[in-house]
Symmetry: C2
Subunit: 367 residues, 2 copies
């Protein structure tokens, strides 16, 4: 994934995949169909001022547009680990949101084109902290603090670039929902509908507490030259907040095993396996930037005039139900769906059945 | 607090405190009354075998007995940070459980003598990991894994030493409740009643997850020669699990402040102030030992025949209400009290009003 900087999108029609669906796979997006994909890296204006001060110079934004050519465009945004590969054109069963987005999915690529981009500050191909920038003296190198408004501003630039006056919708989970709210507040004329899953107008102090600890873990480890080791532990902690107590209880109630002089608990093995995997794909400095961005997020819901569907997960430890009830009540055109999911905060990635009806109701018929 | 090893308790009658109660203090234990205190350090048998293998050699157990001479004895045990100083004889307003235990308290030192001890493996004057034992190659030095049954065994040795055939009760919160359950299962004839607050028969996997991350933080930092720095971060994480989401929301909803290149959030300032304070008083190696002990705790509730009062806090993130309902149902003579507290898991330290009635009902009249 090394894209060169382009001011003109690369248009890459893809041939249908020759790989047939594996027989053992559960019913899901049909991999035998494939869509045109357009992707590129937008060269942003030479100076891109930031919400919390400072600026990015010569920033790039890596993006990808997949789905039926000419169909209305929905921007799909996920958590801080998500990227522009929402679902793959060559095999829609892959991509970070492939359980929700794809042919026949809750967000149906037969009906919509789906736009994704790599977050500014992240580990993808958009501008972010340089690898190795975290060090003993400057824990995020020289990369400035980012706001969800900055991501929204980048999306506006991307729409200009693509010649899109407006989006049919933004569908965002977690941090992506925050970016959606920020965009809708700033550019009400550029998005017709908003779907926000597990994202508040501001972070709950307990969620900020958990993320602050994650950032301190990475900073402490970085000060010892062990930033990626710290990232493993930070991600393990994050995992405890993404899932529900009930899921962990159901999966990890077994007994501890000896590992040399100490015991290792089943849930610990799971968390640190996830943490190790994460650390191979993400940079500690990017994690610090985007994690902080979640906690800096604050929008005035009363000024978000775009019709907005809020999806709250009762078991979400990071975004309490009460906070999303309050958000929906403050939105001028808000509607709340409360769902239950053993996946907690991660329900936005998993609950394809429950989200299908909600997406259909929110999006209506494509124009 | 440097006690020499004694096989005979030191009997230290204390004079009434000359310090009058400060006028601004809320009503609480009366500091003008003081009690005899007996304290000492028990020399345990030369070889003390441990539940999970290995043994302690020439172990010591530091203990303290406060309250009306001749009154029935209640053993009071707290979390892994607690020690033998349950409430101070010279000023009952001090001590780790002084909001609950003292003259006129929920556990009334006019009616009971209160016995406390420093946990094996802890940072007090009982045998534990040596300072500095945590290092790059052995994260707990050579100190073996400890079980709640080991603490129970130490208590049994202490009762022998004090010439006490049995206790009127054990009242334990958090880890102390686990030790109480372990003791009651092993020595039903040596304790008449058990009060268990926020302690299950086994740890919930989500709680184990949070503690596993805390231990990994300390281990990672110790490998860099920064064990106490790691302990600060680990304690900050622990604090997020001890209190309730509602308390943090009420206290720390303010905006972030700049600290050089980054932002610091109000809840973060609080957590790390608590973490720094903790790290001055506790050793990383002891934390690792006792934290692991919580996760190794498993008792068979159906074999705990001592009449047991279980107190569950609905807002406790570490010990879910459902787990304590199940515990109480499995206990042959169990009774459950469900309370609400903004203090979450820490309610056992704070809810003096709610606990007063529960203690009175559980303990009955002193003999």
């Amino acid at each position: 994934m090394n894209l060169s900087v382009e001011s003109v999108p690369i248009i890459t029609p893809r041939l249908p995949s020759v790989r047939p669906p594996a027989p053992a796979e559960p019913p899901g997006p049909d991999a035998s169909r494939a869509y045109p994909v357009r992707e590129g890296v937008l060269a942003m204006p030479a100076v891109f001022p930031l919400e919390h001060g400072g600026e990015l110079r010569d920033a790039r934004l890596a993006w990808r547009l997949v789905g039926a050519a000419g169909a209305p465009v929905v921007c799909a945004l996920g958590g801080i680990s998500a990227n522009r590969e929402v679902c793959l054109a060559s095999d829609p069963r892959n991509g970070w949101w492939s359980e929700i987005v794809g042919p026949g999915g809750a967000l149906d690529t037969d009906e919509y084109q789906v736009l994704g981009f790599d977050y500014l500050g992240g580990s993808g191909d958009s501008t972010g902290p340089e690898p190795g920038a975290a060090g003993p003296t400057a824990e995020r190198g020289v990369f400035p603090s980012l706001s969800s408004y900055d991501q929204a501003e980048a999306l506006a630039q991307l729409l200009d670039h693509l010649g899109l006056a407006s989006l049919a919708a933004i569908a965002g989970g977690s941090y992506g929902g925050m970016v959606g709210l920020a965009f809708a507040e700033r550019y009400p004329e550029r998005v017709a509908r908003l779907i926000v899953i597990g994202a508040p107008d501001r972070s709950h102090p307990l969620a900020t507490a958990w993320r602050s600890v994650q950032r301190r873990i990475v900073s402490l480890a970085a000060a010892c030259g062990q930033a990626q080791e710290g990232l493993k532990v930070a991600r393990a902690l994050a995992m405890t907040t993404y899932r529900s107590a009930a899921e962990l209880a159901a999966r990890f109630g077994g007994t501890a095993s000896r590992d040399g002089q100490r015991f290792v608990f089943p849930v610990e093995e799971y968390l640190f396996a996830r943490g190790c995997d994460y650390a191979t794909r993400h940079r500690a400095e990017s994690f610090l930037t985007l994690s902080e961005s979640i906690d800096l997020h604050r929008v005035d819901a009363s000024r978000v005039f775009v019709p907005t569907t809020v999806v709250a997960v009762r078991e979400d430890q990071l975004v309490p139900l009460e906070d999303l009830r309050a958000l929906a009540a403050r939105l001028p055109h808000g509607r709340l769906h409360e769902i239950s999911s053993i996946y907690g905060h991660d329900a936005f990635l998993k609950e394809s059945y429950q989200l299908r009806g909600i997406f259909r109701a929110a999006l209506g018929s494509p124009k």
